[in-house]
């Protein structure tokens, strides 16, 4: 049941230099991987690219083969209507129950939907809470 709500996100370590983002995205393009959600956490000399793609295992393999440091992380994906309040309701529900959100990013798609990706400190408990509130999930 839990696994229905868990998304396998790819994280890639890159140095903060020109050309690094192009190098990573070129590999995905050549492999015809489609990116569904994407963000970069930057920290001075380096950055961590985080993304959700359509073919996770293929993307993982081709990035690793190209020499990148890639990690698969289990995150929660929540699908909401593309209107104000979506992220607020989730953040409130989790915060009230003491769940810490490590990071969040969101993508809109399909004209009226948004996908919110969250890494939390307690995946199982967070899924329970959101489900009990009847919030929509992404499989």
């Amino acid at each position: 049941m839990l696994e229905d709500y868990v998304i396998r996100q790819l994280s890639v370590f890159v140095e903060n230099k020109p050309g690094r983002l192009a190098a990573v995205t070129e590999i995905l393009y050549k492999e015809k991987i489609n990116i569904k959600a994407f963000t970069i956490a930057e920290a001075g000399d380096f950055g961590i690219i985080r993304m959700v793609v359509d073919r996770t295992d293929d993307a993982y393999r081709c990035l690793k083969d190209a020499g990148f440091t890639v990690t698969l992380t289990r995150v929660l994906g929540v699908e909401v209507e593309d209107e104000p309040g979506g992220l607020y309701r989730i953040a409130k529900a989790l915060g009230e129950q003491g769940i810490n959100i490590e990071y969040v990013y969101a993508f809109t798609y399909g004209g009226d939907k948004a996908l919110i990706i969250l890494r939390v400190d307690d995946l199982e408990k967070a899924a329970e809470i959101l489900e009990s509130r009847g919030m929509l999930y992404k499989g």
Binding site: Q9, S11, F13, V14, E15, A41, A43, D45, F46, I48, R50, G67, F68, T69, T71, T73, E102, Y103, R119
Partner: protein, 264 residues
């Protein structure tokens, strides 16, 4: 120093420059506000230019000093002529050898300094290879002393580096990195001198297959952990920079893992 009316100081030359900077930021001129008149400086290589800078900025006479821990620390210094370091020949016998062949070299020839202690008890040394490259002069010095002199240390016979006066062997760094599964075996050491005169050592390492990298803190914690391990082994604080696998230079033959950008 002002309060204690210090007249002589002993430290590394880079630290002396750092002190002069720091003092002037505090509004103190070592030259005019203290009783300092002389300093003996060593534990790292330094040039005539640095000597002049120290002498001007601090208003003192700056003398080179040499020694090794095994010999009892700083033992030999320059006389007022500042032209080579006098070795007390009644207590120490010095030789220069070719570091590759071990062959004894003559006066004026560059080679590795070898020392034999003549009066030391408890830890006497016989033909101790210091690893320091220098030249011996046995001509009588203008000061009148006949003790032989060694000229400025020109470098090392091995790959040892000196960071803020502390001896560091690259192999020590390698040993620490091999115990950390998240990083690979390749590394580079970059040495710079900061604005304030102190040495900065940066160690670059590659992430390994085993590294789990998702949060920025994952990397920062890894770098911190490596830096702490290095500090406990080397006694020197290093900046650690983690880079992508395959980024660092690979070598055919002997690896040159140290990039020394310091100008002494």
């Amino acid at each position: 120093m002002k309060d204690l009316k210090t007249t002589v100081i002993a430290c590394t030359p880079s630290y002396m420059l750092y002190l002069t900077e720091y003092a002037s930021k505090m509004g103190v001129s070592l030259k005019d506000d203290t009783k300092l008149r002389a300093g003996i400086f060593g534990a790292e290589p330094w040039s005539e230019e640095t000597r002049k800078r120290i002498e001007e900025k601090a208003g003192i006479d700056a003398y080179d000093v040499y020694g090794t821990s095994e010999l009892s620390g700083p033992l030999f210094t320059e006389c007022e002529e500042k032209c080579g370091i006098h070795i007390w020949a009644d207590h120490f016998l010095i030789e220069i050898i070719d570091p590759e062949t071990g062959e004894r070299l003559g006066e004026g020839e560059k080679g590795e300094l070898v020392v034999t202690t003549l009066s030391k008890e408890a830890l006497p040394l016989i033909r101790w290879r210091t690893g320091d490259i220098t030249v011996i002069e046995s001509e009588k010095c203008a000061c009148g002393r006949t003790h032989p002199r060694i000229m400025r240390i020109l470098g090392r016979a091995d790959d040892m580096i000196i960071v803020r006066g502390v001896n560091v062997f690259p192999s020590q760094i390698e040993h620490v990195l091999m115990q950390i599964p998240e990083v690979g075996e390749h590394y580079m050491i970059i040495l710079d001198r900061a604005e304030n005169g102190l040495d900065v050592m940066t160690v670059q390492v590659e992430l390994s297959e085993k590294a789990e990298v998702d949060r920025v803190s994952d990397i920062l914690e890894l770098e911190k952990r490596i830096a702490e391990k290095l500090k406990s082994v080397l006694n020197v604080t290093a900046k650690v920079e983690v880079v992508n696998p395959g980024t660092l230079q690979r070598f055919e033959g002997k690896a040159k893992r140290v990039i020394d950008r310091r100008k002494i």
